[in-house]
């Protein structure tokens, strides 16, 4: 058995073509903005958790459920606020949080175990511009390490008495946010630079057509799987609007 012919267990779960994953990412991010309904949101949340489960990413599914669950609970609580102005303001914030978080959650879903070389090959086959491919490759390569980097930052904040805890977030929200984000940005810029330098010396920028040691081809099952999810998402929006017109 030669290299590249091996199909490992995890390959079955990651088998969906990276292009299809990208489409799903865009689909989910936009779909929840098209419809304002919480029911559509709930439906999309369920689908996303389902996507995590389908790839056997148990931990991711669990975290995502908790995140989504707490958003929905918050929304419910906000609806009981008697003061109309506060209710509207908080409602707006939660509305955006609920929806923008989808981008990050789907980004994480896509980045987990993503084979970046497959992804670049796939994008090149789609005639994506070179610059965009390199940028995306660096971003997706960097994403899985962010949580590690962030852990180190959180640790130091604790030791320096500016910990990322409830008290500090409430009393000094802006300062605390700044302390958490500044080192992360400085670190990210540095790593992105080093990664890009390494990529250049290894010819990622070459005009020649990229090959892959694994076969990258859109198969019928990729279209099928992605198709089902697209239908489910759009169907969700459609059903919801029909029901609302029907006065339910």
């Amino acid at each position: 058995m030669g290299i590249g012919m091996k199909t490992k267990r995890e390959d079955i779960y990651t088998a969906l073509d990276p292009r299809m994953k990208l489409i799903l990412l865009i689909l989910f991010t936009t779909a929840t903005y098209i419809s304002r309904s919480t029911w559509v949101l709930l439906w999309d949340y369920l689908l996303i958790v389902g996507l995590y489960l389908a790839r056997h990413l148990w931990k991711g599914a669990w975290k995502t459920s908790i995140l989504f669950g707490s958003f929905l609970v918050l929304e419910l609580l906000i609806s009981y606020i008697p003061h109309e102005g506060t209710k509207a303001a908080l409602g707006l914030i939660i509305f955006f949080l609920e929806r923008t978080s989808i981008f990050f959650v789907m980004g994480n879903w896509m980045a987990t175990k993503l084979r970046i070389s497959d992804f670049s090959t796939a994008l090149q086959n789609m005639h994506f511009p070179k610059g965009a491919i390199i940028t995306l490759a660096v971003v997706f390569r960097y994403l899985p390490t962010v949580s590690d980097e962030f852990r180190s930052i959180k640790n130091t904040m604790k030791l320096r008495g500016i910990g990322l805890n409830f008290k500090n977030i409430i009393l000094h929200p802006i300062k605390t946010g700044e302390y958490a984000i500044v080192p992360l940005i400085i670190r990210s810029m540095k790593i992105a630079d080093e990664l890009a330098a390494s990529a250049m010396t290894r010819g990622l920028d070459l005009e020649t057509k990229r090959t892959s040691y694994r076969e990258i081809r859109l198969k019928a099952k990729d279209f099928m799987a992605a198709g089902i999810i697209v239908v489910a998402v759009i169907g969700g929006i459609a059903v919801n609007s029909i029901l609302q017109k029907g006065g339910i």
Binding site: K8, I116, K158, R160, R187, A196, M200, L204, R210
Partner: protein
């Protein structure tokens, strides 16, 4: 093979020349080591060869560089991809793939080799470098040494003619460094032209054909292979290089005995996840002024032990005592400090001065203390500068200053000397001596034999989750330390 003709270079964001009139000819199959202290320009020379200078790191370049007979001035970095293979300092930031096989394939894929050819090349690279056991693994599971082997395999797969390595041992432990030496030796025997920039040179002394000492952007001296091998530690240190004969490094002579107990760990155990080895019944105590070097294999839990000490991780069982009193992690958060390997995570504000007072309520007394601390760390001229614009060593010293501001009695250091040249290492070492003389207790994880010898009072050897050995550093125990640090190679 490589001809650098009268090259001067200045980075576009800098006022000073990084290189001045460098002329250097390297023959086919030659193994050349570029020596010199941090910031001397040796990295810039490696970048001339792979053309990251001036294409990626922009600036003013004069002179000509010929690679394999071709003038590179009208070539791109990627045109050289098939000729020059580059390996960088930090294996974490040179990987693109998330699994090893894809990583090895990466360069070949970019060049567009057909699939069958690709698979053959991956297999050959893995066989030749004896890393078949690493294939099809997740990059994140590998140790630094294994990552560096993969990085070399990846450029090797493309079979370039020249290999350029920029401080490849900076993040490796002693055993992994020995392994790197073996790989480089076999590449040399296959006829590769190898250029490597380093200040930790003990592992290169037997394979180098020529060493070139760079100082302030100029070639100071060329050293022939045999003279390089016979270099004494004193001569090497004078050039800013790490000692060449590690066994003749002598232990620190400063007396510290205070007899007052500062910290005590009683049966501390910690277990988390599958990736870390658990720590079991860690028991030891340290006096005021003791400097404890924590050594052991990668992944044995050295850093975890530091994090427990600082209260960042909570022990599952056991007691942690400071000054005879059991303290919980929250109090340890307050009463200890951890200087991490990478200072970027530890600096939060927009100026050196503000950094010092962060988390402390400012008052006159504190100000005075801060100013004297900065003076001691050689940072008084940088008061208003942004911490991110400091050099690596300066950032580290700023972190130590922050630790002193916090006025804690226990300070932990995670790999404080990885990638440091001799002078910086000595600076860190003497700073630690000073802290220890003030009665602070220091816990230091390290692989750096020379640093451990010249800094620590005690060694705590972790193996299989336990304290395997705990002893004082002296002339007598030196061979033991050496043996622990280098033994793993034989086991492999």
């Amino acid at each position: 093979m490589i001809r650098i003709e009268d090259v001067s270079f200045r980075y576009s964001n800098s006022k000073d020349d990084a290189l001045e009139h460098i002329t250097l000819h390297i023959h086919r199959g030659e193994f050349v080591v570029l020596l010199g202290s941090s910031g001397c320009g040796k990295t810039t020379i490696t970048r001339l060869i792979n053309r990251l200078v001036p294409e990626f790191f922009e600036g003013e370049l004069e002179g000509k560089i010929y690679i394999d007979g071709q003038d590179t001035s009208d070539m791109d970095i990627q045109d050289l991809a098939g000729i020059v293979g580059s390996v960088f300092q930090d294996p974490r930031s040179q990987f693109f793939a998330t699994d090893t096989t894809a990583e090895i394939a990466f360069s070949c894929e970019n060049v567009g080799l057909p699939r069958e050819e690709l698979c053959c090349r991956i297999e050959r690279a893995a066989n030749d470098l004896q890393i078949t056991r690493l294939l099809e693994r997740s990059i994140f599971e590998l140790s630094s040494g294994e990552k560096q082997s993969i990085a070399i395999a990846s450029v090797y797969a493309l079979s370039p003619k020249i290999l350029v390595l920029d401080e490849p041992s900076a993040n490796l432990d002693s055993a992994a460094t020995q392994h790197l030496m073996k790989i480089l030796d076999s590449l040399k025997k296959q006829g590769y032209t190898i250029v490597i920039s380093e200040h930790r040179v003990h592992y290169l002394k037997d394979i180098a054909d020529r060493a070139i000492l760079i100082e302030n952007g100029k070639i100071k001296k060329e050293i022939r292979g045999e003279d390089f091998r016979n270099l004494s530690n004193k001569e090497a240190n004078a050039m800013g290089l790490r000692s060449i004969n590690l066994l003749s490094v002598s232990p620190r002579s400063v007396d510290y005995h205070t007899g007052e107990n500062q910290i005590e760990l009683k049966n501390i155990s910690y277990y988390y996840g599958k990736s870390d080895e658990p720590l079991r019944n860690i028991t030891f105590s340290a006096d005021k002024g003791a400097v404890i070097g924590i050594i052991g294999n990668n992944g044995v839990g050295k850093s975890t032990l530091l994090e427990i000490t600082c209260g960042l991780k909570k022990e599952m069982s056991g007691n942690f005592l400071i000054n005879g009193k059991p303290v919980n992690p929250k109090i340890r958060n307050r009463d200890t400090f951890l200087v991490m390997q990478n200072s970027d995570y530890q600096l939060f504000t927009e100026s050196v001065e503000k950094e010092l007072y962060l988390g402390n309520t400012e008052n006159e007394l504190l100000r005075e203390k801060g100013i004297s601390l900065l003076k001691r760390m050689g940072l008084s001229n940088y008061l208003q500068q942004h911490p991110a614009s400091l050099s690596g060593g300066q950032k580290q010293r700023l972190c130590i200053a922050v630790a002193c501001m916090k006025n804690t009695d226990v300070i932990c250091f995670d790999e404080p000397t990885s990638g440091l040249d001799y002078i910086s290492m000595k600076n860190v070492s003497s700073l630690l001596h000073e802290l220890s003389q003030e009665g602070k207790t220091l816990l230091v994880t390290s692989h750096d034999y020379e640093f451990l010898m010249s800094t620590c009072t005690h060694i705590c050897y972790l193996n299989a989750g336990k304290v395997e050995d705990y002893f004082e550093v002296s002339r007598k125990t030196a061979p033991k330390i050496y043996q622990i640090l280098f033994q793993k190679e034989e086991k492999r």
